[in-house]
């Protein structure tokens, strides 16, 4: 009888085990969907057009603020004092503001608090360039977001947005990027939709694109009203996306189509 009971529990457990293995499928960076020549371009720092933004960000990083301090005053020349693991773990919960801080918000906050600068508008060109530079320093570091108790409601919100259908085309992120990665939409290959390469250089538009701007473009393409850049919705979604791609190396500045 005892053996029988064990068997039945095993039989009940088996499908659960299978389901788990199906859910934890291989993570594929957008890099793996690129053509060989584009991969080469991304890895070659002379050929990568995103390096322009990195250089601009480097200049901003060493530019004196209102009180003559620079980012390098605290973080060291060329960011030598950065904890790269911490860069890979953003967004982080900020106790003072009681919300998750994305890397951009952290940079903006630092500029205001320690350099007495006027804060940037969220997602503006300069801010994206500094973000690009800082993430570039942590290139190759694995994304490692942890969901603390305080972050949980934001994570849940992001997850809900990821799985909700929007717009006249009635599409949700999960419908494309969880079910049909690797398939073609006309000439374009659908990726798993990970965030490890952002901010990235898009060959289609010829511009540096932040994660929020890319999501906004998605919303426009399925004819939905986008959330505004830096909104709580997009920050929650960013949190969920980073967590979803935990373990993928940071590729900033990546190249995508």
């Amino acid at each position: 009888m005892i053996i029988n009971k064990k068997f039945t529990t095993l039989i009940f457990l088996l499908p659960v085990l299978f389901l788990n293995s199906a859910a934890a499928r291989d993570l594929k960076s957008g890099f793996e969907y690129l053509s060989p020549s584009t991969r080469e371009m991304q890895n070659d720092e002379f050929a990568n057009p995103g390096m322009t933004a990195v250089e601009e960000g480097r200049v901003e990083f060493h530019r004196a603020g209102v009180n003559d301090k620079t980012c390098a005053t605290c973080h060291g020349e060329n960011g030598s004092k950065f904890d790269l693991k911490k860069i890979a773990s953003y967004p982080i919960y900020n106790k003072e503001f009681e919300k998750p801080f994305t890397l951009q918000e952290q940079i903006n906050f630092c500029g205001e608090e320690y350099l007495d600068n006027v804060p940037y508008v969220y997602d503006c060109v300069d801010l994206v360039e500094i973000e690009t530079y800082v993430r570039y320093l942590a290139r190759g570091e694995k994304v490692n977001v942890t969901i603390t108790e305080e972050l949980k409601p934001f994570y849940e919100k992001g997850k809900k947005i990821y799985n909700t259908r929007y717009g006249q085309m009635n599409m949700a992120c999960n419908v494309c990027h969880d079910q049909f990665d690797g398939q073609r939409l006309r000439g374009q290959v659908l990726s798993q939709g990970h965030s490890n390469g952002f901010p990235l250089y898009r060959l289609g538009s010829g511009k540096m694109t932040s994660l929020h701007a890319r999501i906004k473009e998605c919303f426009r393409s399925f004819r939905a009203e986008p959330f505004y850049l830096g909104s709580e919705e997009l920050i929650s979604l960013e949190l969920y996306l980073h967590l979803r791609g935990n373990g993928l190396p940071i590729e900033t500045p990546a190249i995508r189509y």
């Binding site: 009635n170 073609r184 659908l190 009203e225």
Partner: protein
């Protein structure tokens, strides 16, 4: 005085034309409710007759049907057919017209996890639609019927 009269007449005709334009545009995008019967819509949408030749153009048009984005179809002059959906060769012999009509109008009623947009879905069921497209289906009833007529020719 004569000039003024002419101007007046012009303005009246112009306004009439613009009104008629607005009203036709409005009726074009009007949503005619449909009903499903055993996973099919058997009555033509809005009572329109489809034209397969126009349907073929809509299927290719990136701002209208853009069916080629996901489906391979017997349209050799267009390159890069999508691979997300099933190929539509011979779809007219696999499904009845009513079944195709439901799948074009609102595939989600057949498969809730589908990626396919409802091209004549009830606009009230959509969420957070951009102002420009608010309250409108993707295709109007005539265009949807044209697409259905074209798909029925794929035997």
């Amino acid at each position: 005085m004569k000039m003024k009269n002419i101007n007046h007449g012009l303005i009246v005709t112009m306004t009439l034309i613009s009104f008629s334009l607005v009203s036709t545009a409005h009726s074009e995008q009007k949503f005619y409710p449909w009903e499903t019967e055993n996973f099919a819509i058997n009555k033509p949408l809005g009572g329109f007759n489809g034209n397969a030749e126009r349907g073929r153009k809509i299927v290719i048009d990136k701002n209208k049907g853009n069916c080629l984005a996901c489906h391979a179809m017997p349209i050799p002059e267009e390159s890069f057919h999508g691979t997300v959906g099933p190929a539509l060769h011979g779809v007219g012999s696999r499904y009845t017209e009513g079944q195709i009509r439901l799948r074009v109008a609102d595939e989600q009623k057949v498969n809730p996890m589908t990626i396919m947009p409802g091209f004549y879905k009830n606009p009230k069921e959509n969420n957070r639609v951009d102002d420009q497209y608010w309250g409108k289906p993707v295709l109007n009833a005539q265009e949807a019927e044209d697409v259905i007529a074209y798909l029925m020719t794929l035997k």
